[in-house]
């Protein structure tokens, strides 16, 4: 009876040997903490219109505004402090990415696992719908939905979920089909345990490794997709700018030399997405037994 350590401890033991992934994880955590603490650490509340000074609009980084503090990253067209706007924007982006990812995960994994468990016509129906959906680009689906449902946080989340649950369902179906044929599932059936319990307590937990890999990639994707939709004006209202909208707003000033309005939110977005993907790569390498030697 060796290895009393938990699976998580063993996982971390292997994870920490990849320096790049550890740094990336640190970046993701740091950005997340900063975004969560945005109201506490940012110099200005960018959503409070009364707080904005139009006179300070479009000032370059390092400018000391009329309220007496330095705008380290400059200000945008409304006189918003960009650092504050980026922190608040990250907050919204991460929030929406996580919520959409979690709902897509739950919905997709459940559908995929039940399809694999029951087989037959139920499986055929669910999986054909999912195949059909996967044949459209996610961005197209999200665009159509965002246009149909209108602006706002929840319509945006609904669009992201619709665009992404199919990836989870595909992955869960593949993994669950393999688990379905294992003896421990037959053992549960011969007990007998209810289908719900077999799927949620036994099959799905064993499908987690590939689903976690998809989840890390998909959270990054939904953040990017949210930014894209917002950039196109289909995301959140102008009063609560997410990163995508900040980039869009600054876009028109790019050519007049006021690069910072677009560039800094863009850099924040890229750093976050690249960091999540680097963590995801390492997680995939560790959880995919085929890549193991």
């Amino acid at each position: 009876m060796t290895e009393a350590s938990t699976p998580l401890a063993r996982f971390w033991d292997e994870f920490r040997h990849n320096t790049v992934a550890v740094i990336a994880l640190g970046v993701v955590i740091a950005i997340s903490i900063m975004a969560m603490a945005a109201p506490l650490i940012s110099p200005q509340n960018p959503y409070d219109l009364a707080n904005l000074v139009l006179m300070d609009a479009r000032r370059p980084p390092g400018f000391v505004g009329s309220k007496g503090f330095t705008h380290w990253l400059g200000t945008d067209a409304q006189g918003r402090d960009l650092l504050s706007a980026i922190l608040y924007g990250l907050r919204i982006s991460i929030q929406i990415g996580l919520i959409a990812g979690a709902i897509a995960f739950a919905l997709g994994a459940t559908l995929g696992a039940f399809a694999a468990f029951f087989g037959g016509r139920i499986e055929a129906l669910i999986m054909r719908i999912i195949d059909l959906q996967l044949s459209f680009p996610a961005i197209l689906l999200a665009l159509v939905l965002a246009a149909l449902l209108g602006q706002g946080k929840w319509p945006l989340i609904a669009a992201l979920v619709t665009a992404q649950y199919a990836y989870f369902a595909r992955t869960a179906h593949g993994a669950a089909s393999a688990e379905r044929s294992k003896d421990y599932v037959d053992a549960a059936l011969s007990t007998p345990l209810a289908a719900r319990r077999v799927v949620f307590r036994h099959i799905l937990p064993n499908c987690l490794p590939p689903l976690i890999v998809v989840a890390t990639v998909q959270v990054a994707n939904s953040i990017a997709l949210e930014a894209t939709l917002s950039f196109l004006g289909l995301g959140l209202p102008v009063t609560e700018p997410s990163l995508g909208m900040l980039i869009a707003n600054g876009f028109q000033y790019m050519l007049s030399g006021r690069y910072w309005i677009s560039i800094y939110p863009g850099v924040a977005l890229i750093v976050l997405i690249v960091a999540i993907n680097l963590v995801g790569d390492q997680v995939r390498d560790q959880l995919n037994p085929r890549l193991r030697r």
Binding site: M1, T2, E3, A4, F118, G120, K182, D183, Y184, D186, A187, A188, L189, S190, T191, P192, L193, A194, R197, R201, H202, P205, N206
Partner: protein, 343 residues
């Protein structure tokens, strides 16, 4: 029809199980358009009938691919039968609705590979208690004591409840799987090759555990195995399966001493035996030929191609499992030309 059989606890009546691979969409379209589509149906179990008496251990013996595991899974309520019915004390094991479901908890199963039959992410305690909890055999507050009781019964320390399967050896895991089945308080245990994947010294420990459980709990068991030595050691009666059919069934002592079906005879002769008395240490005689494909079993008696006694009739006419009732032992054989039963 045989008459005056004692009331059986488990009855298996004309059970068949066929596996037809699902046709792909393309094949189904082709079939719709009228092109002939080859369906490759495997007759895993072909109209098998037998019974299990209260308290007896019946060995189900055969080579791989003979359908013994499938039959075990039908009886344990994992697969619905294609035809026929398996029942325990009159209650059908698996309802025949559109989505057949097992309802009875009176038949439980132990699987061959304890590395595959325990969920690697569930602690031993929950593995054992989840069935009894789901069926109200024990309350949540009594569950830990209940788990401890069954762990003790199979010879594991009580602390095992807190551990995960990967922290145990193969033999210990098989004990956990047995405890899981027993905790459902079944009348019947279906054991599918429960010692085949274990090392010899561990095998002996598990066989002794079965002997003990049988004495202590009066369990009725269907013991599926390809290992004739193990079956002879544990079982009261033996059924021999060949390509989906039972070819011989009867008391273990009689079948091992005087088999009546040529296949049983050949199977017994093919096992290398240590003859500790004589100079020639090991004796065995292989069966000629190979197991035919279950996709296209030969007509008539399935064994005729390999049988030294086969005649023209065997090639067309499938024998029925019959005879031998007059001697009172229930020794029955499915053969047109059974052996006389000499030792």
């Amino acid at each position: 029809m045989t008459t005056a059989e004692p009331a059986m606890l488990v009855e298996v009546k004309a059970v068949s199980k066929r596996f037809t691979p699902q046709l792909s969409l393309g094949d189904r379209l082709a079939a719709l358009l009228g092109s002939p589509v080859e369906t490759r149906t495997v007759h895993a179990v072909d109209r098998v009938s037998f019974g299990l008496e209260q308290g007896e251990v019946l060995g189900l013996v055969g080579e791989s691919g003979c359908g013994k595991s499938t039959l075990g899974r039908v009886i344990a309520g994992i697969h619905p039968p294609s035809e026929g019915r398996a029942s325990i004390a009159g209650e059908t094991v698996m309802g025949d609705g559109r989505t057949p479901l097992k309802r009875t908890t009176r038949i439980q199963m132990v699987f061959q590979d304890p590395f595959a039959s325990l969920d690697p992410r569930v602690r031993i305690g929950e593995t054992i208690s989840e069935g009894p909890l789901a069926h109200g055999l024990v309350s949540r507050s009594d569950a830990p004591a209940y788990v401890a009781r069954w762990l003790t019964a199979v010879g594991l320390p009580v602390e095992a409840a807190e551990r995960f399967p990967h922290q145990f050896s193969g033999g210990q895991r098989q004990r956990v799987a047995i405890a899981r089945a027993l905790a459902m308080q079944p009348d019947v245990l279906v054991c599918d090759e429960p010692v085949a994947s274990l090392d010899v010294s561990i095998q002996a420990q598990i066989i002794n555990l079965f002997l003990k459980l049988r004495r202590d709990l009066g369990l009725t068991m269907l013991f599926i195995s390809h290992d004739l030595g193990v079956v002879r050691h544990l079982c009261d009666r033996v059924a021999i399966m060949y390509l989906g059919r039972i070819v011989e069934i009867g008391p273990a002592a009689e079948i091992f001493a005087a088999p009546r079906h040529p296949y049983t005879r050949a199977l017994l002769d093919s096992v290398p035996k240590l003859v500790t008395g004589s100079d020639e240490l090991v004796t065995f005689k292989p069966i000629q030929g190979e197991l035919p494909s279950p996709l296209s079993p030969p007509p008539g008696c399935h064994f005729h191609q390999r049988c030294p006694r086969a005649e023209a009739r065997c090639r067309s006419d499938a024998p029925q499992l019959a005879g031998g009732a007059d001697d009172g032992t229930g020794h029955r054989v499915s053969c047109h030309f059974p052996l006389a039963g000499e030792a």
